[in-house]
């Protein structure tokens, strides 16, 4: 029996090449997309689970409440890990990470600026598993002069040589390579190029001798602390630990500064899609995109399934005789259902084969991986279980897509089918039209969502940041010697006609701004608040193109009392409820005795400008005059002859700092990096939206060709009665126009409901323009017309004598 089904199925596929091709193409593209999405989701959902002790590892976050302003940050104090391990038996081990700012590393002639280096405790390998390619974990970070490097880092400096024992140097120290490890896998939130021993940091920044002061350090956050808990640890009990630690070591300061602190833990596996706390410089994911991809994956599969259902049932008239005969010869309905399900499964398995090839081609030959910033691969190495799940999924797709046709076809009444009097039923037609409407509704919905997301991202990107980000050159000042000389070279450089202004500042907008505890003049007395703070040199406002709304900019005579002059932004004035910010009292860098190292008054209010990604809104900001120049030299280029100006700057800089390669960037490029992830994700969404449309068109094509075939006689009669080709084409298209119209009406409100919350998650919202819905609907009508038009035209141009003979 099975052989008979198989023969009929394969011969049917062979005989109806066009429809088989449409079916297999739809299913293959649908399955291929779903496999890619599944690979993507697998990668995203298994973040950090490759560490054997993953279930016991937690990252500690800090929650500070200072005068009612709450901050939750991913950083914690460098004292926290040691105290927790000493005092609480639940904690087996801890390790701390701290990012090393961009640093020049040398080996012989080879010099590279490194951005992804971390300080790590020597216990890092007690918690995390990394593959050692050379050297061993034992004591590899015990010595302050050790360094552990990843393979890609090693290749930059040592090529294919074994790096162990070789020396790498920075401006201040030399490090001996103790081990080489594999690069952390793509689904690891801890991505770094090299590890330096935390002990090195303790040498340069020793802990205070005084115990009180040491405890004071608990209020100062600088590291990421990871804890290895005992296997029987119950996460809910960490609250008690946090409270007890606070009471014993932090409360006495908290009471003085009207603050409170608590610590929270996040399981390792949930960090990537966790609460995305502030100051998390490790890679974290956006669950909105994750859900979107999952939904679109399901939708695409659904569209492909619907295609199959549609075409299989539309072809019922050509299968009716077979069904009738099989029933007459004794086949029962169950057997027929099995037969048609089997055919769908065969079709789906053929499509699965093509899908695997398609996936491999897309992932290995196309720029897809680069486009979405991933390393997805179908390489069967460790992927067999995944492939088996996909195979089971393909069989499932076959069964689902075959189900409706199987029940529909097996219900055919043989007496009618064999007489040839059977017509496609109204119910069948309605269902098919419903399915195509659904397909178009999904496509329109996905396109509208993608368009609105693009629109939002574009809005954010092109929004006025409140300062001029064009032609702003940034040159990091690598060390304090260099920084001290920086005002000199700045003064020299700005004399060049291509450079209009220059200033030094501690931070660059968009690359991470510091927070600081301030005491600010309140209604009755001084209030504690945490504000963003930037330490800037003279000429900063002019260089950045910032507008001073009232008061005056920093003056040269302020330089001698640098910590006593502040500029604030409008938001801070608003937040404090000040009618006029000028002259308001501000204090910062508070000592335990209550005195402040920075104490002065607001001398100017600056128009609001963005210092962070536009995902976040404007926040209160204090600009403090730097006492010592450090950070980054900002140069405003005039925009004319940029190449010549750059050559001039490079030449001057190399004279100024001959030991290091000239390192620079442009602010607008740095800023657009902030949206790189958004860009990648929306590109993927756009590709998927296109696939939705493609599959829906295949469905429409199938439905149209059958619908036209069924109406061949009607077309002939109409032509005989005088209808023109155009009238017939429009008559045939009218039905589909209605379907696409209904689809647009159904999809638009749903898309609106889906996208609205996402757009509202941005601090700056582009709104939801109505024309997106109209243009998408019109586009869908156009695509439908092109799809149906060809068939309609051919039918309309056919000789009516032929069409009438057809019946």
């Amino acid at each position: 029996m099975f052989r008979n089904y198989l023969i009929v199925a394969l011969r049917n596929i062979y005989r109806n090449k066009v429809y088989s091709l449409l079916n297999v193409a739809g299913l293959a593209v649908g399955i291929a997309c779903s496999i890619i999405i599944a690979l993507y989701l697998k990668n995203e959902l298994t973040y950090d689970q490759h560490h054997q002790k993953a279930a016991q590892i937690y990252r500690v976050g800090s929650r500070f409440d200072i005068s009612g302003k709450v901050d939750e940050i991913a950083l914690s104090s460098r004292m926290l890990g040691p105290i927790l391990k000493d005092e609480y038996e639940e904690i087996e081990e801890y390790t701390r990470f701290r990012w090393i700012p961009r640093i020049l590393v040398r080996h012989g002639e080879k010099r590279f600026y490194e951005e992804k280096m971390l300080f790590a405790d020597s216990t890092v390998f007690d918690l995390f598993d990394f593959e050692f390619l050379a050297g061993s974990p034992k004591n590899s970070l015990g010595n302050p002069n050790s360094i552990i490097i990843t393979r890609s880092f090693s290749q930059r400096y040592f090529g294919q040589e074994n790096p162990v024992g070789k020396i790498l140097s920075t401006d201040r120290h030399e490090y001996r390579v103790r081990a080489m490890i594999a690069d952390p896998p793509a689904n690891s939130h801890l991505k770094f190029a090299a590890l330096l021993p935390y002990a090195r940091l303790d040498q340069s920044l020793p802990l205070p001798e005084d115990e009180e002061e040491r405890k004071g350090e608990l209020w100062s956050v600088s590291v990421y602390t990871y804890l290895l808990m005992r296997p029987d640890f119950v996460p809910e009990t960490f609250d008690q630990i946090s409270r007890s630690l606070y009471t014993r070591h932090m409360k006495f300061i908290g009471d003085q500064i009207n603050g409170k602190a608590e610590f929270t833990i996040e399981p390792l596996a949930r960090i990537h899609y966790g609460s995305a706390m502030a100051y998390d410089r490790f890679e974290y994911g956006n669950s909105t995109y994750l859900y979107s991809f999952f939904a679109i994956g399901i939708f695409i599969l659904l569209l492909a399934i619907i295609n199959y259902m549609n075409m299989a049932t539309a072809r019922s008239s050509s299968r009716a005789r077979e069904v009738g005969m099989r029933k007459v010869l004794g086949g029962n309905r169950g057997q027929l259902i099995n037969q048609f399900l089997g055919e769908a499964v065969i079709m789906s398995l053929i499509a699965f084969g093509f899908a695997l090839v398609l996936v491999e081609l897309i992932l290995s030959l196309s720029p897809f991986n680069r486009l979405i910033g991933s390393e997805l691969s179908l390489a069967p190495g460790g992927n067999w279980p995944f492939l088996l799940v996909c195979l089971a999924g393909a069989i499932g797709v076959g069964i689902i897509s075959g189900s409706y046709p199987a029940f529909y076809l097996s219900s055919i009444i043989p007496a009618k089918a064999l007489k040839g009097t059977r017509k496609s039923g109204k119910t069948g037609l309605l269902v098919r039209r419903g399915l195509v409407t659904f397909q178009f509704a999904v496509s329109i919905g996905v396109i509208v969502c993608t368009w609105l997301m693009y629109n939002q991202i574009d809005y954010v990107r092109s929004r006025d940041l409140g300062f001029n980000q064009e032609n702003l050159l940034l040159i990091p000042l690598q060390d304090s010697t260099l920084a001290r000389k920086a005002p000199e070279i700045r003064d020299e450089l700005v004399t060049h006609e291509g450079i209009s202004a220059g200033a030094i500042a501690s931070d660059v907008p968009g690359t991470g701004i510091s927070l600081m505890l301030f005491r600010a003049e309140g209604r009755e007395n001084m209030e504690e608040h945490i504000f963003n703070v930037m330490f800037v040199g003279m000429g900063y406002l002019e260089t950045m193109g910032l507008h001073l709304l009232e008061g005056q900019d920093f003056q040269p005579e302020n330089q001698s009392e640098a910590g006593a002059h502040f500029l604030v932004n409008q938001e801070l004035v608003r937040k404090m409820g000040w009618e006029n910010g000028l002259g308001k009292h501000l204090q910062a860098q508070l000592n335990l005795d209550g005195n402040a190292q920075m104490d002065g008054h607001v001398q100017g209010v600056v128009e609001d400008f963005n210092v962070k990604s536009l995902h976040e809104g404007i926040q209160p900001l204090v600009l403090v005059l730097q006492d010592q120049p450090s950070g980054v030299l900002h140069l405003r280029l005039s925009g004319q002859n940029i190449h010549g100006t750059m050559d001039y700057i490079r030449q001057k800089w190399e004279e100024f700092d001959p030991d290091r390669p000239f390192d620079y960037s442009f602010l607008d490029q740095d800023f657009s990096e902030l949206y790189a992830r958004d860009n990648r994700q929306s590109t993927l969404l756009a590709i998927l939206a296109f696939v939705c449309v493609f599959i829906s068109c295949l469905g429409l094509l199938g439905l149209a060709s059958y619908s036209i075939q069924q109406r061949t006689r009607e077309i002939g009669i109409r032509k005989v009665l005088g209808a023109s080709v155009l009238q017939i084409v429009f008559m045939l298209f009218r039905d589909f126009l209605v379907l696409v119209g209904i689809a647009a009406l159904l999809a638009s409100p749903v898309a609106w409901l889906v996208v609205r919350p996402w757009i509202h998650s941005f601090a700056y919202q582009a709104g939801i323009p109505w024309y997106v819905f109209i243009i998408t609907a019109l586009g869908a009508v156009l695509v439908a017309f092109i799809t149906v038009g060809f068939h309609s035209l051919r039918a309309a141009q056919a000789n009516p004598v032929q069409s009438l003979k057809y019946e």
């Binding site: 008979n4 023969i7 004794g330 086949g331």
Partner: protein, 229 residues
């Protein structure tokens, strides 16, 4: 073999009710060759469908092999059908995707006949209709007469007690038509009961008896020749 009592078949659409059979009572004895004649729309095919257990009557009784079967479930009707009845249609109703051999084999697959026996019986049936040389051809590669011979081979391969033929020569020229009728006669002589619907007086002459239908009623019977069982 077959006995009907007051068979009624109504077809209802939303607005119209059509009477296809109005209290038809008849009987067919084992070994008999009966032709049913009448103009288009007189209810011949409806009667055949009910006799072939592929449709059920609206009212009345139908006895097949001595049992009342009009109210049987589809499953039981299917069992009875596949074991006892062979069908020959005007439009042949061969499955285009199957070869001649596979088309003839199909009834045996549904009766779960073993592989070896299946092959033997298909070959025997094709031999008897002189179609062995076409066993690997597809229906579209055959002439109408050849297709109908394959359909007859399919009808007899299961050795049914009854063959129902619905206008078996309707789509054939007279030469091919006579050939098919001779095959049916031979089968009848070998003991198979045959009920045939036809417009053709020439074909009807191959039968023992002619039942005439008009507007869903039996309006007459002609005995042509005695039955030899």
């Amino acid at each position: 073999m077959i006995r009907t009592e007051n068979l009624v078949k109504l077809y209802r659409t939303e607005e119209v009710e059509t009477t296809a059979l109005a209290e038809v009572s008849l009987h067919v004895a084992p070994g008999e060759f009966v032709a049913i004649m009448g103009p288009s729309g007189c209810g011949k095919s409806s009667l055949m469908n009910i006799m072939g257990l592929i449709d059920v009557p609206t009212a009345g009784k139908y006895y097949f092999l001595g049992n009342e079967v009009s109210a049987l479930s589809e499953k039981k009707r299917s069992e009875l059908r596949k074991n006892n009845i062979g069908f020959v249609f005007q439009s042949f109703n061969l499955i285009d995707e199957l070869t001649v051999f596979e088309n003839v084999e199909l009834p045996l697959i549904y009766t779960k006949t073993g592989h070896q026996e299946r092959r033997e019986r298909v070959e025997e049936a094709l031999e008897s209709l002189n179609m062995m040389h076409r066993r690997n051809h597809f229906p579209q590669q055959l002439s109408g007469g050849q297709q109908q011979r394959v359909a007859v081979a399919r009808a007899l391969v299961n050795r049914p007690a009854l063959i129902l033929a619905d206008e078996p020569t309707g789509n054939l020229d007279s030469g091919h038509g006579d050939e098919v009728m001779r095959q049916l006669s031979r089968l009848n002589e070998a003991g198979t009961t045959i009920v045939m619907v036809t417009h053709s007086g020439r074909d009807a002459e191959f039968a023992h008896r002619i039942i005439r239908l008009l507007d869903g009623k039996v309006v007459g019977e002609n005995l042509i020749k005695p039955v030899h069982v």
